[in-house]
Amino acid sequence: MTDQTPESISRIVQGFDAKPEMLVQILQAVVQAHGWVSKDTIRQLAGELNLSRADVHGVVEYYHDFRTEKPGKHIVKICQAEACQAMGSRELTQHANTAVDADTTIEPVYCLGNCACAPAVMVNGKTIGRVDAARFDSLVAALQGAD
């Protein structure tokens, strides 16, 4: 993931023809490219889309996907919804919180739609099923090995 620059944000906005009704899509593209939404980006989006900063800020704050802080190098989402709870996601989450280093951000997610192979996690955008503590550790080791 790269840093947000006025140029990179403008390119994303232009990709959506600077339509204000595409704000959610634009923010999604910002997060997919940069990992989070900075205050400067909010200001810039408001200007380029002819919206108030409050409007943009409100949308950013509303949706879970739109982080306002820079995440770690790796993002691991652990499903916390019922199907995964039934297969031990609470215990897995406890384990995960002690198993990763500062480079990895752990986030909750409410359903990855992988409910027949629970518990499910998403590592850097890839969904992985049937994850127990040992499997989790090998996923983390693979991330650290790739660094």
């Binding site: 949706y63 996907d65 709870q85 297969m87 192979c117």
Partner: protein, 521 residues
């Protein structure tokens, strides 16, 4: 030697347990051995517990191998995989698999069967036949067929699709829209995803049929961001369909214009509520709208809009092809046709089972699901997502029928069935229902926004044995308020799982006498 077709699904669940790695290993092994194969990436048949499920076509028959790992591949080739050779993981012909053979695959019939992104394969399997037939029938007859079929909204609310379509068709306005709700947020559900990943052109055709029927030239798909693979598959399918003249202006020279825009959600559960979804499609916060006006009158950008779930729409092409009467002939009472049930959570054979309404939970969980994955007794089953009730073992003989579920204070919703074994702490599950509502509430109405937070606090006090009886009364009162005064199902139905725990699993709250009193109600 001719090219042997080898099928490896490209579908989230299969890929989540290694299907991509298996596909790569098979391609490499074939190359090494000098075998010429055609690797086909199909959708999933829905037998998730068998994934990755590899099939090889031998003499026109597809032979299946279950739970294949990359390390199995050399051994499979040595055993004669390409001739359907024997192996400990060989299942036999896929069409004889018991999990699939007794299903009523009306909506999901192409799922697993065809190469998901091959327009040619789609058209070899009835693809776009319903759209062409719709043009011949005329818009009115299409809506009549949908009405006659008795098809109800599969997103959860169960509203008759034909009535909705008729309302939009009759509404004033030169611009109308089809908005496909693919924000499948309920835990335990994945049928929308499987359909979109396994039969993306099927959804495109269905939306075009809907557009033709009601006079809409533009469709939107609102897809949740938790489904990146689905997004890739749908995006490619839309481009392919457009390039081949099945989307865009004057489709196949019919004079009918229709195009689809794919939008991503951003992790908000309440955006699955239709009006919140419309707000989000307009680029705003996903806050629920007051109704009326109904979206059918004033929907997306204030225009008449059909909002239907993926499975609702995808059920339509076969209704056009085979007639509404045929669909209405399946199911029971006012629950016509089929539903794609999803077996999830602590279940041995999890997956998607499309059956006619009327089957019981027990048949699904025991006959299809094989009981719990842990092998322990079933304690509770949550049907219909996070707003659905927890049912005890004694209610498993309830037939899956919208009205029968309403009678026991439960709902079928989107057909998700999440099984818990006897180690589950149901007081924690009741707490989670409130907690989830607090996290996901859009904040517009007070009962939902504040009630959910208070609900967590009250339940915590009950769990910690602080004035348990008083807090019990408070919780019941809070549930009444949320149910009666919330704007949408988020706050209005969060009490369902909570009340069901109080009623059926009171011992998990250590509610002694209260427990008895509730049971005697």
């Amino acid at each position: 030697m001719s090219r042997v077709k080898v099928y490896v699904p490209r579908e989230t669940t299969s890929v989540s347990v290694g299907a991509d790695e298996v596909a790569l290993a098979i391609a490499q092994q074939a190359k090494q051995a000098g075998d010429i194969i055609q690797l086909v990436r199909n959708g999933s048949w829905g037998a998730c517990w068998l994934e990755p499920l590899v099939e090889v076509e031998v003499d026109g028959q597809r032979i299946a191998y279950r739970n294949i790992e990359p390390d199995d591949v050399p051994g499979l080739f040595a055993a004669g995989l390409l001739e359907g050779g024997d192996h400990e993981k060989r299942l036999g012909p896929i069409i004889e698999e018991p999990y699939l053979i007794n299903q009523d695959r009306w909506t999901f019939w192409r799922c697993g069967l065809i190469e998901a992104l091959s327009l040619e394969d789609f058209q070899l399997h009835q693809g776009f036949k319903a759209l062409e037939k719709a043009w011949d029938m005329g818009a009115d007859a299409v809506i009549d067929a949908v009405t006659e079929s008795g098809l109800r909204g599969r997103g959860g609310a169960g509203f008759p699709a034909g009535i909705k379509w008729r309302t939009v068709a009759d509404a004033e306005g030169d611009q109308k829209y089809i908005a496909c709700n693919a924000d499948e947020g309920d835990s335990g559900t994945f049928s929308d995803r499987m359909l979109m990943e396994g039969d993306p052109f099927g959804l495109i055709e269905a939306m075009a049929v809907a557009g033709f029927a009601v006079g809409a030239n533009k469709g939107y798909i609102y897809l949740r961001s938790e489904y990146p693979l689905t997004h890739m598959i749908l995006s490619r399918a839309i481009v392919t369909a457009r390039d081949a003249g099945w989307l865009g202006e004057d489709i196949q020279g019919s004079g009918f214009d229709f195009d689809i825009e794919l939008h991503l959600g951003a992790g908000s559960y309440v955006c699955g509520e239709e009006t919140a979804m419309l707000e989000s499609l307009e680029g705003k916060k996903g806050i629920v709208r007051y109704k009326p006006p109904l979206p059918a009158h004033e929907g997306l950008f204030g225009k008449p809009t059909v909002v239907n779930n993926v499975v609702t729409l995808a059920s339509v092409p076969n209704i056009i092809n085979m007639g509404g009467e045929r669909y209405a002939g399946m199911g029971v009472n006012r629950s016509k046709g089929t539903l794609a049930f999803q077996l999830a959570g602590n279940i041995k054979r999890g997956g998607l089972v499309e059956k006619s309404f009327g089957i019981t939970l027990r048949e699904l969980i025991e006959n299809y699901g094989g009981g719990t994955a842990s092998g322990r007794p079933v304690k509770a089953v949550q049907v219909g997502g996070p707003l659905g009730a927890y049912l005890p073992e004694s209610q498993l003989d309830t037939p899956l029928d919208y009205e029968a579920f309403t009678e026991i204070g439960a709902m079928i919703g989107h057909g998700g069935i999440v099984v818990f074994d006897d180690t589950a702490d149901m007081a924690q599950q009741a707490r989670f229902a409130m907690e989830f509502c607090a996290i996901e509430s859009c904040g517009k109405c007070t009962p939902c926004r504040i009630g959910s937070t208070r609900g967590v606090e009250v339940i915590d006090r009950m769990i910690n044995d602080e004035n348990r009886d008083e807090n019990y009364d408070l919780l019941v009162e809070l549930c009444d308020t949320m149910e009666d005064a919330s704007l949408c199902a988020m706050g209005g139905m969060t009490p369902y799982p909570v009340r069901s725990v109080l009623k059926h699993f009171a011992e998990d709250f250590a509610l002694g006498q209260k427990n008895q009193a509730i049971r005697n109600e």
